[in-house]
């Protein structure tokens, strides 16, 4: 199909979709209205389980099973990216060059690294009380480590980031979440039921299993994002076509970067 024909077909379909969608919108409950039956019940359940962050209560308590699925999607995607971007035969690994970084960037980056790391861990740990949680905090932790790439160079980043350990951490996070579920099933009524003592409302130790599940997700997300970024950075920095074209199969053994 030509580009023009494809565009025409799209515009026709978009017109039909837009008209149908607009009519459907007119029948939705009005924006900002007062009727939120699910929201009201979720807030009620969150308060009953002494979870100040109602969103965390929905994610890690009321819908904890769905979050297991979501976490598994993340795990599978990281695995998929690692498999897709592994070094193929005919590609050589080049040692990254030391890079020159201006003194100001270096100082600022090194000063911010521990702060960013701490903020990430804070966001993970307080997920049951304040906005945040394992997903958000995990990403902050993972990106904080990459400040070293900005402040120093790729070789410095590789020293604090042995990828195989983070792969293990990724799997351990997934495992911890599942095992928490198995333990609650053995101890109480159901898989991923909130059976732990609920603690004091608004305290760091509150909301029962939400704290554990948050920590497991935080670990998995932090490690997963580190591994994901490592595979992409490897493609950009280290992996180069071998002399003689990308299709020359030499099958050199994989070298561990030092």
């Amino acid at each position: 199909m030509t580009r023009r024909g494809r565009l025409r077909l799209f515009l026709l379909a978009a017109l039909v979709l837009a008209a149908g969608y607009a009519v459907a919108c007119l029948d939705l409950p009005p924006f900002g209205g007062d009727r939120h039956p699910y929201g009201d019940r979720a807030v009620h359940a969150a308060l009953a389980r002494r979870t100040a962050n109602a969103v965390a209560s929905v994610n890690f308590d009321q819908r904890a099973m769905d979050t297991l699925g979501e976490e598994t999607i993340l795990f599978a995607a990281v695995l998929g990216a690692v498999v897709l971007l592994r070094r193929t035969a005919g590609e050589a690994r080049t040692e990254p060059e030391p890079a020159r970084v201006s003194a100001g960037v270096r100082r600022l980056g090194l000063a911010l690294l521990p702060v960013a790391l701490l903020v990430g861990l804070y966001v993970v740990a307080h997920g049951n009380v304040t906005p945040g949680g394992g997903f958000q905090g995990g990403v902050v932790v993972a990106t904080a480590l990459h400040l070293l790439y900005v402040a120093a160079d790729y070789r410095a980043l590789e020293r604090i980031r042995p990828v195989s350990r983070y792969e293990l951490g990724d799997a351990a996070g997934e495992f911890a979440y599942t095992m928490t579920g198995v333990c609650t099933a053995l101890a109480g009524p159901a898989f991923l039921a909130n059976v732990l003592p609920l603690g004091t409302f608004r305290a760091l130790a509150s909301a029962g299993t939400v704290v554990l599940l948050n920590a497991a997700v935080g670990m998995e997300v932090a490690c997963g994002v580190v591994v994901l970024l490592a595979t992409f950075l490897d493609q950009a920095v280290e992996i180069a076509d071998a002399p003689g074209g990308p299709r020359s199969a030499d099958g050199a053994p994989e070298e561990e970067p030092t």
């Binding site: 494809r6 924006f31 929201g39 807030v43 962050n53 995607a77 990281v78 994901l228």
Partner: protein, 114 residues
């Protein structure tokens, strides 16, 4: 106008689709897919909004405070995580496509290779 936020979500969806259909670069197409998906964030948050409501986090607010719907916010979080993982996987596929076929233009990728 009380349906405007819903219509904005629909508009973002269609703009993303337009980008996908007319894309000449797979990296651009992956970006367009992310735009298309972000329309669902707008729609979910619009559905859950309550006029005058605050965030559904009771760290500071009193327990009886008027809050927006936490269920759709949790769904949006799930949505963002899944979107990010899909984007990562698609970008990995694009990297490999570029290596094997030497192009990222979808119109030039129609040939079969055994």
């Amino acid at each position: 106008m009380s349906v405007l936020p819903y219509l904005v979500a629909g508009w973002i969806f269609l703009v993303g689709l337009y980008g996908l259909v007319t894309s000449r670069d797979l990296i651009h197409a992956v970006g367009c897919l992310a735009v298309t998906q972000s329309s669902t964030y707008v729609l979910l948050l619009a559905v859950g909004y309550r006029r005058g409501g605050t965030a559904p986090v009771f760290a500071d607010a009193p327990a009886g405070a008027r809050v927006v719907d936490p269920v759709v916010q949790a769904l949006t979080l799930t949505d963002i995580v899944v979107g990010a993982t899909v984007t990562a996987l698609l970008l990995a596929l694009v990297v490999q496509l570029r290596k094997r076929h030497g192009t990222v233009d979808p119109d030039r990728l129609s040939e079969l290779r055994g």
